[in-house]
């Protein structure tokens, strides 16, 4: 126990002495939490639209105004030539072309129906789908408005319609940051627990100090604990820092228990330092460790449900995500912070994380013994 204290003191002394390390631990989380949730926003605005109005009627004017005033669209061209609109798409100036045909108003009144052409630039698939969706709903809305205006009011609608009213629970205004901040916080803990710990241990190998340590009577598990505990502590410090930013900057006050959040953060960090230790036993140099963690981090990031919903992944990918500790913690973070879930709601994820932590740490320690 006394030896562990000496090890921890030495470890913290080295960390505080390394300006790079301090920067990573304190400044990186702040910047990531301030920048990422605002920048990586899935809400699509500023969709460039070109309207080819062959009709130039009151109705087509109203429709155009309605589209522009929605706030999602920016009018980049207004002519009466489809080819000009298409040219704008080709030059990447426009994302969508809406063609309003000749006699749009007249036919609408006379025939009670009219067709519109919407051409979408689908190079950026998300933007295309969402832009198209927005435009369709605006057109539908408009369609309803004119029906209301023109059709004689009857007691019952001639055509039965289903009106859908949705309300967004837990994130009523669909604020993207509310969804992202808890996830990014988990990502930061992953970096500190998984990456930095791996580099730190490999550094001892690389500069040879581990040789000197190994000839002392120090016990292996004490040495490993001395290496890993600092990163668990630093992870909790960063977690606290992140929670403060979430509250102060984004106004995200966790609905659920703070204690439960910290309990999860602790279990998660123990799991991740096990991962870091495992990486370190498979690498001789910091560069090797870096490449290995980079490989895993990319997969963790893209498959953890941080950016893309796990539910919309193909089945085989969903199975992979079940092996990513990140995905459990992100899920739990969102559940506790946004929904106020209790322990029994997240007991499953808790158990899985504990099992993962045990497996990773045991594997790492066995492998650590084998290599030295």
């Amino acid at each position: 126990m006394r030896t562990l204290m000496f090890l921890l003191r030495k470890e913290f002394r080295q960390i505080f002495r390394d300006p790079g390390m301090l920067r990573i631990i304190l400044i990186m989380p702040v910047i990531q939490l301030l920048v990422l949730p605002r920048a990586a926003d899935y809400e699509i605005k500023n969709i460039n639209i070109a309207i080819e109005d062959y009709d130039h009627s009151v109705v087509s004017q109203q429709l155009t105004n309605k589209i522009i005033s929605s706030g999602y669209f920016k009018l980049v061209g207004y002519h009466n030539d489809y080819n000009k609109g298409y040219e704008l798409i080709e030059r990447d100036k426009a994302d969508i072309v809406l063609e309003i045909p000749v006699d749009f108003e007249q036919k609408l009144i006379r025939n009670n129906s009219q067709d519109l052409l919407v051409a979408v630039n689908a190079i950026n698939g998300t933007k295309a789908i969402i832009g198209n969706g927005y435009l369709s709903s605006i057109l539908m809305d408009y369609n309803k408005e004119i029906r209301m205006k023109w059709l004689p009011p009857t007691r019952f609608n001639e055509l039965p319609t289903i009106d859908i009213v949705s309300s967004n629970w837990y994130n009523p205004n669909l604020v993207y940051a509310v969804f992202m901040v808890p996830g990014i916080l988990v990502l930061l803990l992953t970096l500190i627990g998984g990456n930095l710990s791996a580099f730190n241990i490999v550094k001892e190998k690389e500069i040879g100090t581990i040789e000197q340590i190994n000839v002392t009577p120090i016990k292996k598990h004490i040495f490993i604990m001395g290496k890993l505990i600092p990163f668990i502590i630093m992870g909790l410090v960063v977690f606290t820092l992140g929670m403060i930013i979430a509250v102060v900057v984004y106004g995200i006050i966790p609905v659920g228990s703070m204690l439960l959040l910290y309990l999860f953060a602790l279990v998660y960090l123990v799991t991740l330092v096990g991962f870091g230790l495992l990486i370190s036993t498979y690498s001789e140099t910091q560069v090797q460790a870096q490449s290995l963690t980079f490989f895993f981090l990319i997969i963790f990031n893209l498959m953890s449900g941080l950016f893309t919903s796990i539910d919309s992944m193909p089945h085989w990918a969903q199975i992979i995500t079940r092996f990513i500790p990140l995905s459990y913690f992100i899920e739990v973070m969102r559940m506790i912070v946004l929904k106020g879930s209790h322990f029994h709601d997240v007991a499953y994820q808790f158990t899985i994380l504990i099992i993962m932590g045990l497996v990773l740490n045991t594997w790492a320690i066995i492998n650590y013994r084998k290599t030295t």
């Binding site: 006394r2 030896t3 000496f6 030495k10 002394r13 080295q14 002495r17 390394d18 500069i207 040879g208 100090t209 581990i210 040789e211 000197q212 340590i213 190994n214 000839v215 002392t216 009577p217 120090i218 030295t372």
Partner: protein, 312 residues
């Protein structure tokens, strides 16, 4: 009981493809300074790593302070001091912090064993707040030695402690080791510098994982089996090349400013040999050639031994 014993130690790497230590046996006496001498790749570091319990031998047994290196590795770790060939202290910790840290790992303190390291530590004391990484090469070695001594080991393992250190610091370093030996510490040291063997009580000349010869430095020199001559002349490089073609000589190589040429002892007198070589070189157009009999040094012995190793 000998503090260090090796019996038929063999170690291979890469699943037996690379033979690093080949059936090596020797033992070191109490309070003796024993030197492993040989070029890089001779297997010195592997022997050190086996004796300091960092490496398992493939075959053979070894013991340190009467404890088996495989079974009793834990006991050995508390009793030996090891200074690896590469500086392996924490560069971002100060001199004093390094020393304190290693003392605490052995459950001791600088104060408790200050007597033992005093001689060395006084030289380091002015820099005790300096980061280890910022020390000069000689100072680094002294700090590493202090750290290896801080728990009062009975056996000290020093793997090429003087490599990369200037001549003055090297000399000082050997003087320190001699004082430690007087205090009863057994020392196993390795070096690639042949001129350092005189500091050792006994040495083992090593090459390709094998011990070629093992004795006191004096006896090894006495057992030199050839006749050695020193050759001086103009255009040393070309002269050496031409001397190598002289079929009577068994070995010719550069040694400092001159060329050493060795001959088999076959009853020929020195004068005959000198005249023969002189005649050969003069026929090649050399003038002002000086040839005198000379006393072999350890390097000559080593080269003579490696030659028989190759041919025999």
């Amino acid at each position: 009981m000998n503090p260090i014993t090796l019996q038929n130690i063999t170690k291979t790497y890469e699943k037996g493809k690379v033979l690093a230590v080949d059936d090596v046996s020797f033992s070191v006496n109490d309070s003796e300074m024993f030197g492993l001498i040989g070029p890089d790749g001779a297997g010195k570091t592997s022997i050190f790593r086996i004796l300091t319990t960092l490496l398992l031998p493939d075959k053979g047994t070894a013991s340190v302070c009467g404890k088996d290196v495989v079974k009793d590795y834990k006991a050995i770790r508390g009793m030996v001091g090891y200074m690896p060939g590469r500086f392996s202290l924490y560069q971002d910790l100060s001199v004093e912090e390094n020393l304190n840290f290693f003392a605490s790992l052995f459950n001791t303190s600088i104060k408790q064993n200050y007597e033992l390291i005093k001689d060395i530590y006084v030289q380091l004391e002015p820099f005790k707040d300096r980061r280890a990484g910022k020390l000069s090469g000689g100072m680094k070695q002294k700090l590493a030695l202090c750290c290896a001594l801080i728990h009062k080991p009975s056996v000290l393992f020093l793997d090429e402690p003087t490599t990369g250190v200037d001549a003055v610091s090297r000399f000082e370093f050997w003087e320190m080791l001699k004082r430690l030996k007087k205090q009863g510490i057994t020392i196993l040291v390795s070096t690639a510098y042949m001129d350092e063997v005189e500091h050792c009580d006994r040495i083992a000349l090593m090459q390709n994982g094998k011990i070629l010869s093992m004795d006191t430095p004096d006896k090894i020199i006495k057992s030199y089996s050839e006749k050695l001559f020193e050759l001086k002349g103009d255009n040393k490089h070309k002269l050496l090349k031409d001397t190598m073609t002289y079929s009577d000589a068994v070995g010719s190589y550069a040694s400092g400013e001159s060329i050493h040429v060795s001959f088999k002892k076959n009853g020929k007198s020195d004068a005959d040999i000198i005249n023969g070589l002189k005649g050969f070189l003069e026929s090649k157009g050399y003038q002002h050639i000086e040839i005198v009999p000379t006393v072999p040094n350890i390097e000559d012995c080593f080269l003579s031994l490696t030659k028989t190793e190759i041919h025999g």
